[in-house]
């Protein structure tokens, strides 16, 4: 196994996630794309952990998983609030702060 094959896979997933964040209008789908990005970072961390022979990457990957879970919880609460106030989850309609 090459080191690069895992890093390439992570890079491809990261770019697909970035594409999703740019393209999607629905807030729930944007959150899913962010999950894709965070997962690709985790694959990188675990791959480097095996390459270096230490468990530091595992620790960071677990921390990233915990942060992602917290992010999804708060993010979906915000989406729910947005839906309750506006009856839509389209991100382009959140222009209340535009001058």
């Amino acid at each position: 196994m090459f080191v690069n094959q895992f890093l390439m896979l992570a890079a491809i997933l990261f770019c697909i996630g970035v594409y999703g964040v740019i393209v999607r209008k629905n807030a729930v789908l944007v959150l899913m794309s962010i999950e894709l990005i965070l997962n690709s970072v985790n694959i990188n961390l675990i791959a480097f952990s095996l390459r270096n022979g230490t468990a530091d990457g595992h620790t960071f990957a677990l921390y990233v998983i915990a942060v992602a879970a917290a992010e999804v919880g708060v993010g979906l609460a915000m989406v729910l609030l947005m839906y309750r106030n506006r009856r839509s989850v389209g991100l382009d309609e959140l222009s209340g702060m535009k001058g």
């Binding site: 196994m1 090459f2 080191v3 690069n4 094959q5 895992f6 890093l7 390439m8 896979l9 890079a11 491809i12 990261f14 770019c15 697909i16 996630g17 970035v18 594409y19 999703g20 740019i22 393209v23 999607r24 209008k25 629905n26 729930v28 789908l29 899913m32 999950e35 894709l36 997962n39 985790n42 694959i43 675990i46 791959a47 952990s49 095996l50 390459r51 022979g53 468990a55 530091d56 595992h58 620790t59 990957a61 677990l62 921390y63 998983i65 915990a66 942060v67 992602a68 879970a69 917290a70 999804v72 919880g73 708060v74 979906l76 609460a77 989406v79 729910l80 609030l81 839906y83 309750r84």
Partner: protein, 170 residues
């Protein structure tokens, strides 16, 4: 050689799982159905767990299945169903000028592939690596990385309280 056979088997497994993950990820960002996107995301997350096992990270793989496929996906499906009147294909999920995303993602991917090829070339994983034990991971968490662990505990507490406060009806 037994060792090289094992490595070939690992490479075949990697290729199949990676192809599934990439296809699932593309479906997540292109499908017209929010529930289908969530289910394709399950494919990607399960594939990531399989890759972790391939990379000798058992504990992280189990945590991935428990937290992501167990908890986060349920949250996503709840979020979808609480914010949608109907479940099915929709037209209005993408931005008007969605094509801008293609060159951005393509350029980013090209940059990363060039950088990775430059940096790592054909460097190989250590063939005789042992599986990381849960004890090693916990020694890290409760040893040198104890302070980030505390910070993370407070972060989770704040997130739980924040989510309750935000979603509460008053």
């Amino acid at each position: 050689m037994i060792a090289s056979d094992v490595l070939i088997a690992q490479n075949i497994g990697f290729a199949i799982i990676a192809a599934l993950m990439i296809f699932g990820a593309i479906r997540v960002v292109t499908t017209n159905n929010v529930v289908h996107a969530a289910l394709w995301l399950v494919v990607v997350l399960a594939g990531a767990a399989a890759q972790y096992i391939l990379l000798a990270a058992e504990f992280v793989a189990v945590t991935q299945v428990l937290v992501y496929i167990g908890a986060v996906m349920v949250l996503f499906l709840f979020g979808t169903m609480l914010t949608r009147a109907r479940i099915g294909a929709e037209k209005d999920l993408n931005n008007k000028n969605w094509f801008i995303g293609l060159p951005v993602a393509g350029l980013l991917l090209a940059t990363m592939i060039i950088a990775l090829n430059d940096g790592f070339g054909d460097e190989k994983m250590p063939a005789d690596a042992e599986v990381f034990t849960t004890q090693q991971v916990s020694d890290q968490i409760f040893g040198p990385y104890l302070l980030p662990f505390w910070a993370l505990s407070f972060l989770l507490l704040a997130a739980v309280i924040g989510a309750i406060v935000l979603a509460r009806r008053d």
